[in-house]
């Protein structure tokens, strides 16, 4: 056990975690330069295309140091705030963390957020300043920033380039010398922590585990403590970099486990694996069910695809237990599902996978958060679909989910960002200047405000230099109303949204004018109205088209004319009918662009 080192790499997005992992694997002979794919551990198509890590991965490397062969377990974790819970579980499987900071960027929001998680998990930290090959690299400034913001001693920080390989050998030495060996008892009853799970077409559910005590062997009968279900271990091993079976995984080791688990939902991140007959097994960590934060309706463009959507969702959730789904129906969009996501990135990923992996044409409605509606009788209802929120007067009060956002921003953009936060109903909690040029801003904000384009605005106001991280901060009471959009007097349920009363007029006007651009002129004038309950707060209309007739029918050429009409008709297939008004699908996306 003294020759095992388990560690992870934590960093802000794009600071080079996955590339550094490539270099470490190369230096330990796991990858040859023939395996030229970059970011080897990002195995999913989406990960490759977006250049981000979504699923945690673990690889086992071997490295000889002063005559001793060490087993190095590297866990690559997702870096996005949507996946914070997964990250915290990955960290619990490690003894040390490489804190990678981009030498051209410095400390960003996620650097901090992940560092705090690592410190919470009691990990030893080695600061690594990456990308020193770049001309704009400024390692000294970054060192200073690390010391000022996080109070971490940087005398021993390592300077590397994950691209060129500078400093990798020294890094391996530091990993072995500075990270502690795992503690644990190989002779105690087996306990292991599930770090991540995914579904593999050939092998079923594969879980990455860290064995904390004892030994795990094929044939063991095991129990998952959170679900209470028991399974037979089929295979254990490690990725080096491809799956390699071993006779056992023992305390301190990180590897994979397959058992006859049918769904990813049964092998949840953070759950503990123990022996089935060990009635007194104690969970390695408190287990928490991850909760979706953001909700949206997903509908097939063409209603005949509803069964296909259902199939796709059931397959997808085999693989991603964090997305929730339940049937929903809309008068405008027909039958579909209300999906729950960990965050906006997660939502985008799922949307993209449905479209690409399952080849579905879908309409996604505007994202919403989960509100607590308190009735006059004191009871409380949770609502994640704006269309279901009662009219004003139909409830006592509402509470909405809050977050605490940490924003790192160059000083010159500070004013604009503060204004943005204030416009978004934020309350300042803290403002620090760890270095002269960068401000660390902490704001308490409603989650709903973040969900509507906040991140994009933050990035555009700061020309990409601001970074954001947030965590949930309970529920707070707010004066919220349901804003409806009506076309010719009929409510378009899929376009309802919940907004603060003070923003309702502006949003209503904005929504009406966006819809005016989207709805094509039709046979009748179309009245577009925004309303709170029965009160109309904004209105506009789409002038009627006066005719649709091409009179000429040359010499009885009915086929030609018929083709023209069929073309018109095909265009209409992409329209959704609300009453007698036809609304293009794009209108349902337009609302996403409201700010």
């Amino acid at each position: 056990m003294s020759a095992i080192r388990s560690f992870c790499i934590i960093a802000h997005i794009d600071h080079g975690k996955s590339t550094l992992a490539d270099r470490l694997m190369e230096a330990t002979g796991l990858l040859t330069s023939r395996d030229k794919t970059e970011q080897y551990l990002d195995r999913m198509d989406i990960e490759r295309e977006r250049g981000i890590t979504i699923k945690a991965q673990a690889v086992r490397m071997r490295h000889v140091h002063e005559g001793v062969e060490y087993e190095l377990n590297l866990i690559d974790t997702p870096g996005h705030v949507d996946f914070t819970y997964e990250v915290s579980r990955s960290l619990a499987a490690c003894d040390g963390a490489l804190l990678v900071v981009d030498a051209t960027q410095g400390v960003e929001a996620q650097t901090l957020a992940n560092l705090y998680l690592a410190l919470d998990a009691g990990l030893e930290i080695i600061p690594v300043i990456n990308k020193i090959d770049l001309p704009s690299a400024d390692p000294d400034r970054v060192r200073e920033e690390i010391e000022e913001t996080i109070g971490l001693d940087t005398t021993d920080a390592l300077l590397v380039s994950a691209k060129t390989g500078i400093g990798i050998e020294a890094l391996l030495t530091a990993i072995i010398e500075r990270f502690p060996a795992p503690r644990g008892d190989r002779d105690a009853p087996m306990r292991a922590l599930i770090v991540d799970s995914w579904w593999d077409a050939y092998r079923g559910v594969i879980s990455i585990v860290r064995v904390v005590d004892g030994r795990m062997r094929p044939g063991d009968r095991v129990r998952l403590l959170a679900t209470g279900k028991t399974y037979d271990v089929l295979d254990v091993g490690a990725f080096a970099p491809d799956a390699l079976s071993y006779p056992e995984l023992s305390a301190g080791e990180v590897g994979y486990l397959t058992a006859n688990v049918k769904e990813v939902a049964d092998s949840k991140v953070g759950d503990t694996v123990a022996l089935a007959d060990d009635a007194n097994a104690v969970p390695v960590l408190g287990f928490k069910e991850v909760q979706p934060m953001v909700f949206a309706g997903v509908f097939p463009s063409d209603s005949v695809d509803y069964p296909a959507l259902r199939d796709a969702l059931s397959k997808l959730s085999l693989n991603d237990a964090s997305v929730s789904w339940e049937p929903e129906s809309s008068s405008a969009l027909g039958f579909g599902y209300r999906l729950g996501f960990l965050g906006l990135l997660h939502m985008e990923i799922i949307q993209e996978r449905l479209e690409r992996e399952y080849d579905l044409d879908i309409i996604t409605t505007a994202p919403s958060v989960k509100y607590q509606i308190y009735q006059r009788d004191g009871s409380m209802a949770l609502i994640d679909n704006p269309a279901k929120m009662p009219d004003p007067g139909g409830f006592d009060f509402i509470e909405e989910p809050m977050i605490v956002a940490r924003i790192q921003v160059p000083e010159e953009f500070l004013g604009a960002i503060i204004k943005l936060c204030q416009d978004r109903r934020g309350v300042q909690v803290d403002l620090k200047f760890p270095t002269a040029r960068r401000a660390h801003l902490t704001y308490k904000l409603p989650l709903a405000e973040i969900v509507f384009g906040f991140y994009d605005q933050l990035k555009s106001i700061s020309r990409g230099y601001a970074s954001l991280d947030y965590e949930m901060a309970g529920y707070e009471r707010a004066d919220l109303v349901r804003l409806d959009l009506l076309v010719n007097g009929e409510r378009v349920d899929a376009l309802s949204l919940i907004t603060h009363r003070s923003n309702a007029f502006a949003r209503g006007r904005d929504l009406c004018s966006k819809m005016k651009e989207e709805i094509p002129p039709q046979q009748f004038e179309v009245a577009i109205q925004a309303a709170i309950g029965a009160k109309i707060i904004a209105r506009t209309n789409v002038k009627a088209l006066r005719k649709n007739v091409l009179a000429k029918c040359y010499g009885g050429d009915i086929s030609r004319k018929r083709k023209l009409l069929e073309k018109q008709k095909r265009g209409k297939k992409r329209l959704k009918a609300v009453g007698n008004v036809e609304i293009p699908q794009s209108a349902f996306h337009a609302i996403l662009k409201l700010d």
Binding site: R546, K547, V549, C553, G555, G556, L565, E566, K569
Partner: protein, 378 residues
């Protein structure tokens, strides 16, 4: 059931800038070659083209048939009579451009047994004719009408509405002049710009504008008001007639009758007993057609044909006659029509009339005929 014969004459003296129909411009028409081609096609069509007498109507359209000149047209009419003896017992119509409508040409037509001409007047206003790139003047059109009358020819006048600068007053004037000139039938078209015509290029060069939808709609309504006030019946989306002067040949199209179309782009329709229909459109372009390029053929099964028939039959604004429809399309029944038309009836675009004898487009809603059609076909 009657049958019609359509002959397409693919020659025009010059191209109108909005048009993309099948024509050859410029050179002197090769009449002999063209007639040879017609003979060859008629022979190939076999049984379909066998007996002349069963073609109750003949329509010679274009292009510009009158660009063949008096002698050329006489030769074409002789060819028709020789190849299809007795054809056109009910009506023979020839399209004539006003600039060609002189005594010689119209006299020759009358002598050849033509009873009706369709004159492409478009407008009597010279500014409009220039905008439309037509070769004639308003005065020529008026004289042409008068000449036709002296030759005892019945006249239909085409009017185009919605060109730049046209006002309701000038359109009312066009209608009045056509009627005064003796037209007993008027076809009214909104100016339609074909994608592959010269017009879009002229627009890019700032020489023309694209027609405005509202302007056209307004003028289409003005034309309807003016013509119906003068006693014309708006019997088909684009057609108005005084009592008894409806275009019989065109009527075949709207009542699911058969027709044989010869010449480039010529269209034909043949129905089977079960209502299924085979539609054929000849190759486009004189050269392709003459070289025997294959036609485009569409076969619709009994129900598909009925779906199409519903739309086509509703071109008649006096209403689709349900009994005739069901006789032509035995695969469907009244309930089917009910269901198929339900959404358009609910929208107020269609209605039952005369205790369900007729299904028709609600007054004024013909302006939406393509929307109705697209929905019925969907």
């Amino acid at each position: 059931m009657s049958r019609g014969l359509y002959i397409h004459v693919p020659f025009c003296a010059r191209a109108c800038p909005y048009c993309d129909f099948d024509f050859v411009v410029g050179r002197a028409p090769d009449l002999d070659g063209y007639l040879e081609g017609l003979s060859r096609e008629a022979d190939q069509r076999g049984e379909e083209a066998a007996s002349g007498r069963r073609f109750a109507t003949v329509y010679v359209g274009g292009g510009t048939p009158s660009s063949l000149g008096a002698a050329g047209l006489s030769a074409l009419m002789r060819w028709i009579e020789r190849r299809f003896p007795g054809a056109g017992g009910d009506e023979i119509t020839v399209e004539v451009n006003p600039e060609h409508a002189d005594m010689r040409l119209l006299g020759a037509l009358a002598a050849a047994g033509v009873g009706r001409i369709s004159m492409g007047i478009q407008t009597f206003e010279d500014a409009g004719l220039r905008e439309l790139g037509r070769a004639h003047s308003g005065a020529e059109a008026a004289v042409g009408l008068q000449t036709a009358r002296t030759q005892g020819l019945r006249v239909s006048s085409d009017l185009i509405v919605g060109w730049r600068g046209q006002t309701p007053t000038s359109l009312r004037d066009d209608v009045a002049r056509a009627i005064d000139g003796g037209a007993e039938h008027v076809s009214v078209y909104a100016l339609t710009i074909e994608e592959r015509s010269a017009w879009p290029k002229l627009v890019r060069r700032g020489l023309r504008v694209l027609p405005d939808d509202d302007h056209q709609a307004e003028l289409l309504v003005v034309a309807e008001e003016a013509l119906t006030a003068a006693g014309f019946t708006h019997y088909e989306v684009a057609s108005y007639a005084l009592g008894g002067a409806q275009a019989r040949h065109n009527m075949l199209y709207w009542t699911w009758q058969e027709y044989l179309g010869l010449g480039p782009s010529g269209s034909s329709a043949r129905y089977a007993r079960d209502g299924s229909v085979r539609r054929r459109t000849n190759a486009r372009g004189l050269a392709a057609w003459a070289a025997g390029a294959p036609p485009e053929e569409v076969a619709l099964g009994p129900v598909e044909a009925a779906i199409e028939g519903l739309w086509v039959g509703l071109r008649r604004l006096t209403g689709l006659e349900v009994e005739d429809f069901l006789a032509r399309f035995p695969a469907v029944d009244r309930g089917w029509i009910e269901r198929r038309s339900a959404s358009q009836r609910a929208r107020g675009n269609l209605e039952w009339a005369e205790q369900g004898r007729l299904l028709r487009v609600v007054a004024g809603r013909w302006l939406w005929h393509d929307s109705i059609g697209a929905d019925l076909l969907g």
